[in-house]
Structure formats: structure tokens, C-alpha cells
């Protein structure tokens, strides 16, 4: 077995043994329960609206909004998981003396980084896909299925991988606490840029649009999230689409075809930068 896989397996095992997954599972069940309750209430409420003169589809509006809200929460939970699996991977573990015995083995520093990223990406990616899938099923059984099922899941998983890569980079240059703060501030900055973009779209502000565009290129997890959101209502048109696109959690911007290649290149560049920084670090 290659060194990277051994490190990844060890990281996952550590999470299992430290009961990280149990906590995540319990919290996810609670989240899913609250989501089911909220979604059921929402669909009941919109059912009472009946027909309307504007041609708004109540179930679509309710479903897209609540599932969009769920995607926001899932992205946050996935980011938390990805961050905590990588937050102290280099400096934190080195300061605690955990890293040195491992890194002296012939696996190499790059393989170590690859293993840590692999574990975080696999765990957080699988987690967001599973939770998103559960929310889609709940939403569907209550009255609305999104237009695209797979693309939003892949976008969420991709966003989690980007966050994991950024957290790994932070772990090579920052202390654990500083890295945690940096990652969550970056996450907040990215999502804020996305919201500014939506406001810019609504107000037809080129400046806000430009800020959102730059934010999306610098922090592609935000672009992936927005693109995933947009795929929920890819086929919705008319007044319903306009209203859905206004909501901060239900609306979104569709990305260009370059998004996925750019996101892959971005992660590769972040990993390369992390490896360069790690290779220069005296332990």
C-alpha cells in the first residue's frame, strides 16, 4: 500500500476512534429531523396558498428555497469536517511531536500531504453527498424534486475538497488556531462575495458583480456552491425562477464550463504550494 493511502487510512481511523463520526452522525440526524419538520411545515403552508395570478409554482418556490437553505448548511457542515480533518496536519502535528516519527519514514512529505488531503476530501465529500441526498429525498417525498440531482451533490463535494485543500495549506504556514480562524473567515468571505453577486444581479450593479466574480475565481468553493444551487432549479422559468433567484439561499449563478477544470487546477496549485512550503519547513 502506498504511503499516501496508509496516511489517509490512519487519518480516517483516528476520526473513527476519536468518535468524530459519531458526533457528526448524531448532529446530522438532528439536522435532518429539523429539516424534515421545517420542510413539512413549509409545504403545508404553501399548499394553502392555492393558485395565484402571477403564475408562481408554490411547491417549486418552497422546495427550491428550503433545499437551497439545506445546501448552505451542508456546505458549512462539510467545510467544518474538512477543516477539522486538516487544520493541524503540518504545524499542529509537528508542534505536538506527532508528525516527526511518521515523516521520517520513507513515505515523503508530499505523500503525507496527499494522504491527509485524500482522507479529508473522501470523508467530507462523502458526507456532503450523503446529507444532500437525504435532504433531496425528504424534499421530494414532501412535494418537490430538484431539476438536477447529481450536479449539486458533485458541486458540494467539490466545494468541500477546495476547503480541505485551503485548510491543508493553512496548516503548513499557520498555527492550528490561526488556521481555523483563517479558514472560516475565508469561507465567510467567499459566501459573502456570492451574496453580493446576487444583490448585484438584482440591482444590476456591475461593481458588485465584479466583486462576486473575483471572489468566485479566488475561492472557487463559492462558485461551486452557487453553481450547484443553480442546478436545483435549472429548468424553472418565469416568475417562479425570478423569485427563486432573488432568495439568498435559493438563488444562484450558473458557472461557465471552465469551473470544473479551474477548480481541479486550483486544488492542484494549492497542494503544490502546500508541498513547497512544507518541503522548506524545518521540523
Amino acid at each position: 500500500m502506498s504511503g499516501a493511502l496508509v496516511v489517509a487510512q490512519h487519518a480516517v481511523r483516528e476520526s473513527l476512534r476519536r468518535r468524530v463520526f459519531v458526533v457528526v452522525l448524531v448532529l446530522s440526524v438532528v439536522f435532518l429531523g429539523l429539516y424534515t419538520w421545517g420542510a413539512a411545515e413549509l409545504f403545508d403552508d404553501v399548499d394553502s396558498f392555492g393558485g395565484n395570478e402571477f403564475g408562481v409554482e408554490p411547491d417549486t418556490l418552497a422546495g427550491a428555497t428550503i433545499l437551497g437553505l439545506a445546501m448552505f448548511a451542508i456546505l458549512f457542515l462539510g467545510a467544518v469536517l474538512a477543516t477539522f480533518l486538516t487544520i493541524g496536519a503540518v504545524r499542529g502535528d509537528a508542534e505536538r511531536g506527532l508528525l516527526q516519527p511518521v515523516i521520517v519514514r520513507p513515505l515523503g512529505r508530499f505523500a503525507y500531504l496527499a494522504g491527509r488531503l485524500l482522507a479529508a476530501a473522501a470523508v467530507s465529500g462523502a458526507y456532503v453527498v450523503a446529507l444532500y441526498g437525504a435532504c433531496v429525498v425528504v424534499t421530494g417525498l414532501l412535494g418537490w424534486w430538484p431539476d438536477r440531482l447529481v450536479a449539486p451533490a458533485l458541486c458540494l463535494a467539490g466545494a468541500a475538497v477546495v476547503v480541505a485543500a485551503l485548510s491543508l495549506l493553512g496548516s503548513a504556514v499557520l498555527s492550528t488556531t490561526a488556521n481555523g480562524i483563517a479558514v472560516f473567515m475565508t469561507l465567510g468571505a467567499g459566501l459573502t462575495a456570492g451574496l453580493l453577486g446576487q444583490i448585484g444581479e438584482a440591482l444590476d450593479s456591475r461593481t458588485l458583480d465584479r466583486i462576486a466574480d473575483i471572489g468566485s475565481w479566488l475561492l472557487p468553493f463559492e462558485a461551486l456552491y452557487q453553481h450547484g444551487l443553480s442546478r436545483l432549479t435549472a429548468d424553472v422559468e418565469g416568475t417562479t425562477a425570478a423569485i427563486v433567484n432573488l432568495g439568498p439561499f435559493g438563488g444562484a449563478q450558473e458557472a461557465s464550463l471552465a469551473l470544473w477544470p479551474f477548480a481541479v487546477a486550483y486544488v492542484a496549485a494549492v497542494v503544490a504550494l502546500t508541498a513547497w512550503s512544507f518541503a522548506r519547513r524545518d521540523l
Binding site: P101, R105, P106, D282
Partner: protein, 275 residues
């Protein structure tokens, strides 16, 4: 040579010179002690040999390969001065992880043998977080031995051990020499070094100040003669001069009850070297 260090230097960004042109050799099956005061550069030297720290100049070659390369790292076992294993893992799991990382095919038999060797045979399933510091240090030694490396770099391997634990480590070191494995032992415990090491290298302020076999480093300090008039010290006299000294005293009418040849200890050599 399994370890060849030539002109090794390390200057940290802050301007601190940790090593300044150090030469050290460790031959196949040799046990070399590395001595020096705190901040002398011993740990930096060991870390460069492991590939944990990048040298500013000079070379370090492990088993014929540059230190830090995969080949070099595959040939060595390392016990850091400050290390920790995951608290959730058992001793057996720690060794299993290092077997996989080092490519050791020893399996459960090797793990059992190593744990037995360091006196942790009964604690193989015990979680690291429930082990005492001394037990963790012995587990660290077992970890360094995984895969039967040609060279062991041990940085203060007995700092957390009680006298019984220290004796156990000394016995392990002797056993390693018997097996033909080489050891570079960084320790503050002079008596330990004196007891087990073939050669000693004393480092101070980043430079080697003394080196040699412990018995060669110890110089004659004089001859002490117990007579009826009291104990008399003949400073600087060697063992060969003792019969003449005794003969002269007897001829002078002194009654001699005992004679002792004094030699400087490694501690004397060390203190003189680093002062």
C-alpha cells in the same frame, strides 16, 4: 560507514548557528555517543540526518544515500527527543502503522518481539494515552526499531525513564550492537554513554570539540598512595610509575597500605571540553 557527516552546518533564519562544520562517522555495528550541553547542536545534527531539518552547508550521507532521501530514510530508525503517538492507538497499532510506512514485512511476530524487547509485552493492547511517559518512551524505541534499520538515531532515549528503564535501554543497545545495527545516541547521561558506546563525540556551540573511545579520552590523573602518614597524591603520574613511587616511599621508611591509579572520568573530559 553507515553515517558520514562532513562539514555540516546549520544557520537558522534568526542568525543562530546551530552547527558549524561538523564531521561525524558511524561505522557498521558501531555505537557512537553524542554529548554536549543544551543548545550545542546535537538534536539539529540528528534531525538533519533524518531529513527533518535542511542543512545550510556540508553533507550527511546515510547508508550511501543523501540524508533525507527515501533510501536514507528507509535505512534508519529515529526516536525524537520530543515525540508523541496518537493517544487513541494501542502500542501494537502504533507499531503496525510504522510497519506499513516503512514497508516492513515483519507482521505480528515483529511487533510482539519489539514490544517484548522494550518490556511492553504485556501492554501491547494498551492505549498510548493510558501509558506512563516511560512506557511511551520505550514504545518510541520499539517504533524506531521497526523494520530492523541499519542506523538508529536516538535523541535522548532515556530522558523519561527510571533507573530500571535506563538499564533496559542499555541492554537493548548492547543487543543492537550484537545484531550489527549502528546507533548514534544523543544523551545527557554520561554514565550511560560511557557504559555502552564504542566512541564518543562531544559537541559544543555547533562544533566537535573532542572525540574518541571513552577509555582513550580518560587520561591519567595521578597515583594515590595510602601511607601511615595519610593519603598522598602524586599528580600526573601514570600507572607505570606506581611501582617506583611505592619503592621510593618504602625506601624512605614509609608504610604503604594501598595504591590507586587515578584516571579522569568521561565527566571530567566532558566538563573540560565544554568549559
Amino acid at each position: 560507514m553507515v553515517l558520514e557527516v562532513r562539514g555540516l552546518s546549520k544557520r537558522y533564519g534568526s542568525g543562530v548557528v546551530a552547527l558549524d562544520g561538523v564531521d561525524v562517522d558511524v561505522a557498521e555495528g558501531e555505537l557512537v555517543g553524542l554529548l554536549g550541553p543544551n543548545g550545542a547542536g546535537k538534536s539539529t545534527l540528528v534531525k538533519i540526518c533524518c531529513g527533518l531539518v535542511r542543512p545550510s552547508g556540508g553533507t550527511a550521507v546515510v547508508a550511501g544515500a543523501p540524508a533525507g532521501s527515501a533510501v536514507a530514510r528507509a535505512s534508519l530508525g529515529y526516536l525524537a527527543e520530543l515525540f508523541r503517538f496518537p493517544g487513541w492507538a494501542s502500542g501494537d497499532e502504533v507499531l503496525a502503522l510504522h510497519q506499513r510506512l516503512s514497508g516492513s514485512q515483519g507482521g505480528a511476530a515483529e511487533r510482539a518481539e519489539l514490544l517484548e524487547l522494550v518490556g511492553l509485552g504485556e501492554a501491547r493492547g494498551r492505549r498510548v494515552e493510558t501509558m506512563s511517559k516511560g512506557m511511551q518512551q520505550r514504545l518510541g524505541l520499539a517504533q524506531a526499531l521497526v523494520g530492523r534499520p541499519r542506523l538508529l538515531l536516538l535523541d535522548e532515549p532515556t530522558s523519561a525513564l527510571d533507573p530500571v528503564g535506563r538499564r533496559l535501554v542499555r541492554e537493548v543497545l548492547v543487543e543492537l550492537r550484537r545484531r550489527g545495527q549502528s546507533v548514534l545516541l544523543n544523551s545527557h547521561l554520561l554514565s550511560e554513554i560511557e557504559l555502552v558506546c564504542d566512541r564518543v563525540v562531544i559537541v559544543n556551540r555547533g562544533s566537535v570539540v573532542t572525540r574518541g573511545r571513552p577509555e582513550d579520552l580518560a587520561r591519567p590523573r595521578g597515583v594515590e598512595v595510602e601511607t601511615a602518614a595519610g593519603t598522598r597524591l602524586f599528580e600526573g603520574s601514570a600507572r607505570e610509575e606506581a611501582p617506583r613511587i611505592v619503592a621510593d616511599l618504602v625506601a624512605a621508611g614509609e608504610q604503604v597500605y594501598g595504591v590507586r591509579v587515578l584516571r579522569s572520568t568521561l565527566e571530567d573530559v566532558y566538563v573540560e571540553a565544554v568549559s
